[in-house]
Symmetry: C2
Subunit: 579 residues, 2 copies
Amino acid sequence: MKIKDYMPILEWLPSYDKRQLPGDLSAGLTVGVMLIPQGMAYAMIAGLPPIYGLYASTLPLIIYALLGTSRQLAVGPVAMVSLLTAAGVGSLAVGGTETYIALAITLALFVGLIQFLLGAFRLGFLVNFLSHPVISGFTSAAALIIGLSQLKHLLGVEIARSHYVHEIVVEAMGKIGEINWSTLAIGLGGVLLIIGAKRLHKAIPGPLLAVVFGILLVWGMGLQALGVKIVGEVPGGLPSFGIPQIQIATAQDLLPIALAIALVSFMESIAVAKAIQAKHKDYKVIANQELIALGAANIGGAFLQSYPVTGGFSRTAVNDQAGAKTGLASIFSAALIVLTLLFLTPLFYYLPKAILASVIMVAVFGLIDVKEAKHLWKADRSDFWMLIITFLATLGLGIEQGIGIGVILSLAIIIFRTSRPHIAELGQVPGTPYYRNVERFDTVLQRDDLLIIRLDAQLYFANIDFFKDRVHELLQARLPKVLRTIILNAESINAIDSTAMHALSDLVEDWRKDGLAVYLTGVKGPVRDAMVKGGVTEKIGKENFFISVQEAVDEHLQQRPVQKNSIHQAFVLQTNVET
Amino acid sequence: MKIKDYMPILEWLPSYDKRQLPGDLSAGLTVGVMLIPQGMAYAMIAGLPPIYGLYASTLPLIIYALLGTSRQLAVGPVAMVSLLTAAGVGSLAVGGTETYIALAITLALFVGLIQFLLGAFRLGFLVNFLSHPVISGFTSAAALIIGLSQLKHLLGVEIARSHYVHEIVVEAMGKIGEINWSTLAIGLGGVLLIIGAKRLHKAIPGPLLAVVFGILLVWGMGLQALGVKIVGEVPGGLPSFGIPQIQIATAQDLLPIALAIALVSFMESIAVAKAIQAKHKDYKVIANQELIALGAANIGGAFLQSYPVTGGFSRTAVNDQAGAKTGLASIFSAALIVLTLLFLTPLFYYLPKAILASVIMVAVFGLIDVKEAKHLWKADRSDFWMLIITFLATLGLGIEQGIGIGVILSLAIIIFRTSRPHIAELGQVPGTPYYRNVERFDTVLQRDDLLIIRLDAQLYFANIDFFKDRVHELLQARLPKVLRTIILNAESINAIDSTAMHALSDLVEDWRKDGLAVYLTGVKGPVRDAMVKGGVTEKIGKENFFISVQEAVDEHLQQRPVQKNSIHQAFVLQTNVET
């Protein structure tokens, strides 16, 4: 490992090509302009004053630019992590209070430490245990929860914070009479403006237009007098340095949520980073270094009043489309936010909260993925149910519970499936040295005196009994005195453990007692090694291992000359349809 | 399902062959004679008065004879289950009290209900998740704990009940001065007698001899006056009918231990039943029916003062050796215990507890399996550590914790391994249509314009990224403009999920964009079905699927005619040593 591996900026900055500057500059500024409304809106999801979304859009972006391996990833506040922050901190303090803010900042420190350590100990692979259906079901449910959490701002009514969709909907239904119609009109106007701008051209900053529209409308028409809730006083100036508070009691409560955020936010970030990298190919995204970079961004941010951040879907896509070629774009974005904090905060006084709600709703409802569910219904029914269960568990039991259940269930299904593997009886494809499943290929040929079995799984403790039972059935189906040889095609056995080796030795011994010859074919390197070490090769005898089924069949034909008057005397291969 | 499937006795009783009677009778009586000392000793392990071991040796044996699929399995009290009973009930009541006894009986009911339901819902396969090293490590540790729990009876000193081996050893060391030498002498005499009898001939009932020796010695020499602890008054008569007490508070405490006992005892029972069945072949052991039979035996027993029972190793082996051919043997054993309860209990007054301790110690120390650990050290290092961890966890953390940690860890390792599968680059075995790993076969031939890859695992969410990274590396190692075709040998891909199908489609699309042809070979039936349903077959194109690597190579040679002046113009297969 070189220093460049730990600080990828040293890779690209020294050889920086001036021609990349216009792209980086315009992309950086575009993302910065997006960050202003999004940051404020997402801080609102997290239960924090809007300004904290801007604080989280400064130092973390710069740190990621120094350490991250992706050159287009746009780090900062994102909807999902903001919601998880609200879920975690909301149970420990009242939203918006000083304690609440302090806890959210401490949470960023914990998230950062966990990510940093996971990266340092090379545990980035853990994120692979989140399957596509689990991510899809979880994201859709979280999007629904986030979207509905903004309903109160869109309608201008009071709705108690809840993570249960039905509670929010029921409460909102009961308050239809109290709707503030001016608020609703502004919010819907914002939604239409953002969607319309996007349809017109991808490069138009719809959310910023909505913000300008909202501010001008409230300021011009004095709508706050009609009960339209506005952001109000936004303190100017940069975030101040402070050491995050750590108390042992709250630390214990924050750690589980910090772990969930660390993993979920890394997952979101690495997914988008890899997707964008696939288009570029002039660099590589390295999972463990990404963990270290995001970890450092969160740790550093925590000392400048930042709550947890990660690489987000939408801004990264915009960053790339707008021409970002290096991490310099992120530094330009951060600079724009710094300028905003220094000089522009008074402009946000009249910003209606309904506009921020519209920014959030348009963003997250786009994440609800009905198409994938429809696709899985046809493509993979079991994965479809996995998606639905994760979706419902997230809605019904909670954010972390939903993803936890999804992960455990998807691993349990994998284990369960490998415990009942596919086992095929093989026959010869006529005129070839290839042997295929007799139940799938009607024309393959079988012999009465030969049983060829292929096990389609690793052989280990959880499936060895299933294997033994199935082989026993196949043996029972044969004429006992006619069968002379069993060929075990091991080409699909990808691994073998000691329990399976014990059982295999016993099986071979039993078969030999019954006068059967046993040949193994196509045993793979790693399995061969294990069998030599386990003494199974010696027991079975090296001479009974063959590279291909055909060679073992040839051996069978040679070793077991036909007996006269036996039913297989003709030595003719029969089709399985006839036998 | 026929009625015979639920009541296997209807299978063998109507066609009972009189010639089997001598074997059944002698085996039944031999096991009954063993049951007297063992039952009393195991009840002592469970913290119950010795008579309860005899109670547990009546009705459960008869119920199993009616419902069980094994014809030699000897059901009754066993050491491991007795220890688990002591561990579970011991935390709720004081050993030997009425409450304690009532709880042990309720526990039998719970164990029975759990086993019965597991069997009725066909969940017998769950026991397959206990791997050989986990069972071995757990059994050795439990044997050590059980054996040492009897140290107090062997030495004639008071040692507080503990499941921590070091505590027992330390306390015993401190009490060396208090040892009752008469007790120790009787105990060691018992040990020598049992071992000696076994060495002389397997059929000699050593434990019964030891019991007779102990009773005669104490009675003849009045050793109880020297402080030798004796069993004392044993109430005569059969167990009385009673409805097990169930209180909600204690039920909650008992359920986890009942679940552990239900699984562990089933595991012990099915293991020995299958081992014995393998020698007979005139019947089949069916896991789910075994659960139903053991469940019914425990439920029924609970109404006649029985604590949890299961099929035990040693008595089953003796039952088989002594000639048992049907469940009738078990009924004879139960009859002998009934006669003992009715007429012989006064004989046990002078039975020294040290003799019962010697019976237990000889039995359980034989279960400590050092040979398997030694074998695994050489055969499979990872399984060796699994055994050691389970052993230490059982000793250090407790019985259920030990087995729980073992199961979870062994499943986690399976998942972890499949998440980093073996991926091989293949070359042609010269002069054959077979393709093998270039890193293992020095002589295989490779072409510059062709990359053949084999993935040795099912392709699913947890390993798809690893697969992509590894393939990317293999591609990077090739000359980019020379490579024209990628052949993916799928013969070892035993399953594919929707996440992997998404990724595979994307990969193929990317490769085609780079001008590469992609062929899949040897895709198996179940994977083929999944890929058709998932729409991947359509995307890749049916014409790109081949039955064997050789056919795909032929297609490559035909479709991609050699370019003049390119470095592979000679069209010569090169050995991988040269490339």
